[in-house]
């Protein structure tokens, strides 16, 4: 737009410079020229002024009143949810109305968009918080009994109170199955990522394509694969080993792909510097590439584990649900936390459901701990293991030279 605003009079009051101006803007007159574009109003920049603040606050107060009036007096819309929905709609409407009095359409749209975007984020936040809080509120009761952590469900009636039985077997089972899964997925996954980034070649591209494709594998299908091959064909009973393998098959592409992404962003000049110093490719990978990518790799692995911990469907098909502590992964059915939750909820007994929620709290705490660990490991290097400035200064060795009085070294 080449619109030129007609200068306000205050500028015309300036003393004219003595010299003739070199350039001038032809201020076209609207009265004579129909082609003049309408003047573009400037939009307010910077902090909102009192007028704006008043309009914003006032819009929401008006919306509050409207929402109350509509939901409580005019229409039979009981409940908090309706009130909030009407409040949001009225807030958007009133903000638009009030700001359209004082500003332009562009600004009105900006404010309305801001409200809509913020409201969407708030809805997501409420949903997340409600999920976490709901599970904790329903599940804290069994956790108050210590036997929930130290006992298993062997011989415990479904209707038994919370003072009997616990989830120790499920916690142990989750640990063992995850260990087996990681023993499969971690070396193979990181090894594949090293192969794809450090060795490369046509074959590596094929592997990358297949690995990326297999991240699409639904977890239930991974479980079904292990169920058909390991359990039905090889005759291994439903056990911790089978469940661990299913988790491993599920986590392998996830970890390999995430590790590949992390290794690819290691700067190439670090590799080149190491190779130029005469290091072999293995040394370069082991001493330069992997240490550089260590925080990212740890995050990739831990997030893969967090995904594996909570997966129910592969375990559902492969582990069988024991109700006693089973520490041997080769010896028959074993339970795990997600499977325990699933079976207890399906039973429909109120106390079983209570235990399921208790186990869900344990599971969520586990995931949360893994998550915090991932954040901690992924912190930038500078905050960790770095001695203070004073100790570093103290460690600098100053070469001792005796100097004579006139400054020459003796």
């Amino acid at each position: 737009m080449t619109a030129v605003e007609t200068r306000p009079d205050s500028l015309a009051d300036r003393p004219e410079p003595s010299a003739e101006p070199k350039t001038f803007l032809p201020a076209r007159d609207r009265a004579q020229d129909d082609d003049v574009p309408p003047p573009v109003p400037r939009r307010a920049i910077g902090a909102p002024n009192a007028d704006e603040l008043f309009a914003r606050a006032g819009a929401w107060i008006a919306a509050l009143g409207m929402a109350w009036l509509i939901t409580q007096r005019f229409l039979p819309l009981g409940g908090l949810a309706w009130f909030l929905i009407v409040l949001l709609v009225a807030g958007i409407f009133m903000t638009g109305l009030l700001s359209s009095i004082s500003t332009t359409f562009v600004e009105v749209r900006d404010r309305v968009a801001g409200i809509v975007v913020t409201a969407g984020a708030v809805v997501v936040g409420i949903a997340l918080v409600s999920a976490v809080v709901f599970v904790f509120v329903r599940g804290w009761k069994p956790l108050t009994h210590l036997n929930f952590f130290t006992d298993d469900m062997a011989g415990v009636e479904p209707k038994a109170p919370f003072t009997q039985g616990g989830v120790l077997h499920a916690i142990i089972g989750t640990g063992i199955q995850l260990g087996i899964g990681l023993a499969v997925a971690l070396p193979l996954g990181v090894g594949t990522a090293v192969f794809m980034t450090e060795v490369g070649g046509r074959f590596a591209r094929i592997v990358r394509t297949v690995v990326e494709a297999m991240t699409a594998l639904p977890s239930i299908v991974a479980g079904l694969f292990i169920y058909t091959t390991v359990i039905l064909t090889l005759g291994v009973p439903r056990s911790g080993l089978a469940a661990g393998l299913a988790l491993g098959v599920m986590m392998l592409p996830i970890i390999a792909r995430a590790a590949d992404v992390v290794l690819r962003v290691v700067p190439g000049n670090l590799r080149e510097a190491s190779l130029a110093l005469g290091a072999s490719r293995w040394r370069t990978t082991w001493n330069v590439v992997l240490p550089t990518a260590r925080p990212g790799l740890a995050t990739a692995v831990i997030l893969g584990v967090a995904r594996g911990v909570g997966e129910t469907s592969p375990v559902l098909l492969t582990s069988g649900a024991a109700n006693f502590v089973q520490a041997n992964p080769l010896d028959g059915a074993m339970n795990s936390l997600p499977l325990f939750i699933y079976t207890q909820v399906r039973s429909g007994e109120p106390h079983s459901i209570g235990r399921a929620f208790g186990a869900a709290v344990v599971l969520m705490t586990l995931v949360l701990a893994l998550f915090v660990l991932a954040r901690f490991v992924a912190r930038p290097r500078k905050y960790r293991n770095r001695p203070s400035l004073r100790s570093r200064v103290a460690r600098i060795r100053v070469p001792r030279t005796r100097t004579t009085r006139n400054g020459e070294a003796a």
């Binding site: 999920a131 599970v135 699409a216 639904p218 239930i220 962003v265 990978t285 129910t312 098909l317």
Partner: protein
Amino acid sequence: MTSLPLADPSAPEAQPRRISRRPTGSDAIFVNVARAIGASVLVITGGVGVFLAWQAVPTLRRYGFSFLTEQRWQPEADIIGIAGVLVGTVSIALVAMFFAFPLALLSALYISEYAPAKIKGLLVSAVDLMAAIPSIVYGLWGFFLMMPHAAELAWWLQRHFGWVPFFKIRGTDADSPVWDTSRYVSSAFCAGIAVAMMVLPMACAVMRQVFSQTPPGEREAALALGATKWGVIRSVVLPFGRGGIIGGTMLGLGRALGETIAVVLIISPAFEIKWNVLETGANSVSALIAVQFGDATPAQLSALLAAGFVLFLITLAVNTLAAVIVNRSRSGADADA
């Protein structure tokens, strides 16, 4: 003056180093071990796909094309088809995306554009944490907390928008004074809401990452031209992030199609093609596998594997398309999805 002793007779003879790309010694071991690991992973992961396809052959040979078009699943009557469960899978996923897409887009925009710098990192962590919460927890949330409200919403929708074909609920009277709750729960709609919670953080994370890569120059150019915040978003951020928006949504869709446990917890199984998502009873391929595998004969197991294979092909197609879109777009070149 400096002089280079070019012909120093006492210096040892300089031999040009042999330059070869062929790895020797420890390098050769490294390269070959890495290649072996890559090959074994290729065998394992590729093996799953090949195995599924191979196992599906007897079923597809026996039932032919009707396996894909028959909607009943009655192994005892030798009628097996996955049309019903496929439609159920798709409708649950579509309901999930209907909720997840706008919310993911809005929250990604909020985090990247509106959130104060102080809490931005916290919000990013919160979204990642949301992605890490086990699906069974969302299943519990959906079953115990969400479903009564969802049923109420379904009732309301039926009363006021009953003329929309897929809001119709057969066998109920919308105007009855006492509403029959059992006809409104356990529907594809309820399952879709729980699945939406699972795919939302995934889609949101991809979108946010792409938005955060918007070139600051273009952003500032828009601001310098007098654009409002929304103007910047509409004219710079959204066009730049279009690939990420589409790709993130499709990745979420791929996850939604394969989701099992929340769906199993919520739905009550039904084997028919139906698009009325509010009506009780639905099914999905993964829920079918989870419920039926236990007492399946070898022939039925083959049928389940075939169903799993079809599901895998669909998710593979969706994910591949998403990856292509993200990679092709200007923004997504190095976004890890």
